[in-house]
């Protein structure tokens, strides 16, 4: 995907992710752990009958929380970068790199995806 195409996409949160707002205003994400099929099968056969799927937690820092809050499913990537830039007063290029890295990392964990923008 080219940079131009990525900037025009909308980051969308995975609906399976649970969001917990902490007292200090930061966000903790709880998401189901993706395990290999053969491990899942082992767990189903030999694990406890009522076992809930394994979960993992990720606590975001303040910049991560800000970016997470900006991802409302309607804002394009470039608009998120602009707002991040306004809020934190960082340079636009730095904001783009920071937001891109954050979205890439969440995407790798399956917490967000990118969809084409539909006006």
């Amino acid at each position: 995907m080219t940079r131009e195409a990525a900037l025009a996409c909308v980051p969308v949160k995975n609906s399976a992710v649970k969001e917990v707002r902490l007292e200090n205003g930061l966000v903790r994400l709880c998401y189901p752990l993706q395990i290999k099929p053969w491990l899942a099968e082992l767990r189903r056969r030999f694990g406890p009958a009522e076992a809930s799927p394994p979960e993992k937690q990720l606590e975001l820092d303040e910049l991560g929380t800000l970016t997470w809050d900006l991802m409302d499913g309607t804002l394009r990537f470039d608009e998120i970068v602009r707002r991040f830039c306004r809020e934190t007063r960082v340079h636009p290029k730095e904001a783009e790199a920071a937001v891109a890295q954050f979205v890439r990392e969440l995407g790798r964990r399956g917490l967000v995806g990118l969809k084409p923008f539909e006006p």
Binding site: R3, E4, L7, D61, E62, L63, D78, V81, T88, R89, V90, H91, P92, K93, E94, E96, A97, A98, Q101
Partner: protein, 302 residues
Amino acid sequence: MEPANGPDPKRQPACGAKVFAWAGLRFCLPSGWETGQLEKDHGWLESDFKPVMEFKTAIVRGRFSFRRHLKQLETASSLRLKRVDMPVAWRSHLNGFHARAFTWQGPRLGGDGLLIYCPACRRATLLQFFRNGGAVVDAVVSVLASFSDHGTAPRPTLAVYDIQATVPLALSLKRFRFDSGRFELVYGDRRRLLTLWRWSPADAALRHHNDSLPDFARFNGLPADADPSAPSREVNQGVEWCWPLRRTWRNRLPLRFRRRLPPAAFRIWHRPAVNRILAVRADGQMDYDLFAEICRDYEIVS
């Protein structure tokens, strides 16, 4: 247009806009343009996340040939180049330079280009302007009107992203990193080393260090051989440490002839209004006055 002595060496960017200075080049950034990606002698400028200009520069050894360089550019890249006459509006701003204009077309993008050679400093510079809806045409004139590649007292010598500094020309850029949130540039020569840092956003960076600038400095830039408990001096919105220069075999002899040893120094200061932290460190045989002057000129521009 092609005098033997080169352009006026005192030519300075005279504009109210933000100045861009990198790799020996200096010009005013048209409104809305920002630094994109930078390499040692190469870089891109952007406007609203789109590339608007690319530059490449180098000192030429031997005789310079426009034909050979343009041919090399065409064969080394997938661009189709076409020589065109220099537009009149451009020509008037290139007094003292030798220059050739061309148009270029790549697989997805195209635009106008300019190969400039300065006979005074023997520097060749390639400028490629991207055609993004035609708004670049006026900007080209603005860039050329303020373009300079050498000068008697160039200030600033560094103006990229949101930082601006004047570093003595004798110190060359050794290495640099522009990471998101942290910039580091190292200049030096055989006897001296100068490091510039910039952190952003400052509030987030300081929060991990109890909102204390000295605590932050201990983990960012203050070297291990400096005693952090040694008395530091408060400077304008910051702190400064000086420690004696380590006597190595390399600096023992020159120091013998000096009454007072130049100290190694580190200064860090906070700019709350722009939410940035700046720091400068001098190592080796650098005069304190020069260090203080570099610190004074190192600033945030927005």
